[in-house]
């Protein structure tokens, strides 16, 4: 513990702490390296496509062509931040992800926890999950179209499936990772089986669950896009395929970059929620200097 009782230096708090952190962040090389890195990549992209116009890369829209269309009120190839269509695609994809991720989490976390907690539940379910898990999501496409009506059902089903397996497995491993001594301590203290579940199993597995959820939301995105490409009427995945079919490459790349940003943002949301729920874990890591 740092004791500063006798010293004049006081640890900053509140807004001062924020200022201190911001100042510290910008006094190191990290933010500048990030910015430099982004520009380096963009520059390489520009050189390949528009600067030197190297073989094959001429077929791709370069950064200048993309930004011209993306930020234009009258986009040449139909999609920009000023067209309603762009937001329709984003909205539909996000809505599907929210539903799929919600279902996968709502089913996967409890199932994984119960599988970790009870030997017999694991014996019933684990072999089936292990059998289904390696089947690629695209292999499920025909079955889901046969099984579920409309466009929405199969797409959401496919996105749910992929992230469900990840979430379930991580929740189960999370329970496995809990030190036996916490169960013993809980037993000594007079816990019922349900008390143990609430007070040891759930919080103990939480770090693993959130690692799993971060992976699972990523998996949900790429299986969603795969599903939208095969069967869909809207959505960013559909936009990519549709643009490709119609030989307009700019919207294709715009949709890809948009996916990148939204995916990044959704992972960050999951991470932030995890850190909020696991203050103890964050503080523990901080004490270890991480």
């Amino acid at each position: 513990m740092n004791s500063t009782a006798e010293s004049n230096t006081v640890a900053p708090e509140g807004f001062n702490l924020f200022l201190y952190r911001t100042k510290k962040h910008f006094s190191g090389p990290d933010p500048y390296l990030t910015v430099a890195g982004v520009f380096l990549w963009l520059f390489a992209y520009w050189v390949l496509c528009e600067g030197l116009q190297i073989w094959r890369f001429t077929k791709l829209p370069g950064p200048v062509a993309i930004s011209k269309d993306w930020f234009s009120t009258t986009p040449f190839q139909g999609i920009s931040i000023f067209t309603q269509e762009y937001y329709d695609h984003i909205y539909v994809s996000c809505k599907r992800i929210l539903i799929a991720f919600g279902i996968a989490t709502g089913l996967g976390v409890p199932l994984g926890l119960f599988m970790g907690w009870s030997r017999s539940i694991r014996d019933y379910i684990f072999p089936i999950i292990e059998l289904l898990r390696p089947i690629p999501i695209l292999a499920w496409v025909p079955l889901s179209i046969l099984l579920l009506p409309g466009f929405e059902g199969p797409v959401i089903f496919l996105a749910t499936l992929a992230s469900f397996f990840v979430t379930t497995l991580n929740a189960m491993l999370g329970v496995d990772s809990i030190d036996e001594e916490y169960f013993r301590a809980a037993g000594c203290l007079g816990s019922s089986r349900w008390d143990v579940f609430k007070n040891v199993v759930v919080p103990g597995a939480l770090p693993f669950i959130f690692t799993g959820l971060q992976i699972s939301i990523g998996v949900a995105w790429f299986s969603l896009v795969a599903a939208e490409m095969v069967s869909g009427d809207l959505g960013l995945g559909y936009l990519i395929v549709d643009a490709y079919m119609n030989n307009v490459t700019v919207p294709m790349v715009i949709a890809m970059i948009t996916l990148g940003f939204i995916g990044y943002f959704s992972s960050a949301c999951v991470r932030a929620l995890g850190n909020r729920l696991m203050a103890w874990h964050v503080k523990e890591l901080a004490q270890q200097g991480r």
Partner: protein
Amino acid sequence: MAKNTSKVGKKGALSIKNVTKIYDPSGVNVMAVDDCSMEIAGGEVCMIVGPSGCGKTTLLNGIAGFHSITEGTIHLDGELLCGPGKPKADQSAERMVVFQHGALFPWKTLQENVAYGPTVQKVLSPAQATEKAGQMLAEAGLGNFLKKYPGEVSSGMARRAEIVRALINNPKVLLLDEPYRAMDALTKQIMHESLLETYDRTGVTIFFITHDLEEAIFLGDKVHIVTTRPCQLKKTVEVKIPRPRSYETQSSEKFRKLLEEVNDAVHEEAVKAFKAGEREMA
């Protein structure tokens, strides 16, 4: 039953008779405890000393109800905990364990940890338990750390909080498994003083496993030296140093003589254990 007459009638008398424990991991029989008997009077501080891996923890696990025992009986205040027909004792708050590596729930604050026992046993309402936990932690000098998580405080503080978490349940026996093992000598001193102070206040029976001979004599009423695996009682050394004890006790002539006596007995076993270890590896 109890030999120490001054403590007859106090709760928490443990009677361990002919306990044997055989592990059978992957078909290899390992006899961890063999025909081990010892009597621990109510309110006694009983120190168990023996070489590493000798089966001391196995004995503790038997008492706490974490493991079954193969043969023999263990009684607490005349009541059968485990024995023939009931190989595994029920886990209960009357026998509280303080673990080697510490087992405060890292996801609960110190106060929540301490309040946990009475809350789940429904002895106190959550509000009452929280209040009492706050009081008891303050008594143990942790008043400023109620809202801290175990990962945020020093290991000494965490261990002290863990003992408070045990004591809030008014246990008959406190089972400690090398709780101060990983601590530096100075922190250990403070922990010893605090445990002695706690003992003088509560008079709870203490079953304390350690490697540290000075710790054993300084804290204990009796020091039970056990053999290397399988664990058997080799020798009991009575520590007739009056309480309350202070740190000066450790430099007295009497203390040194006891230390020599215990050391002689343990050293032999440690050598045996070491040799056995060499054979296993060769």
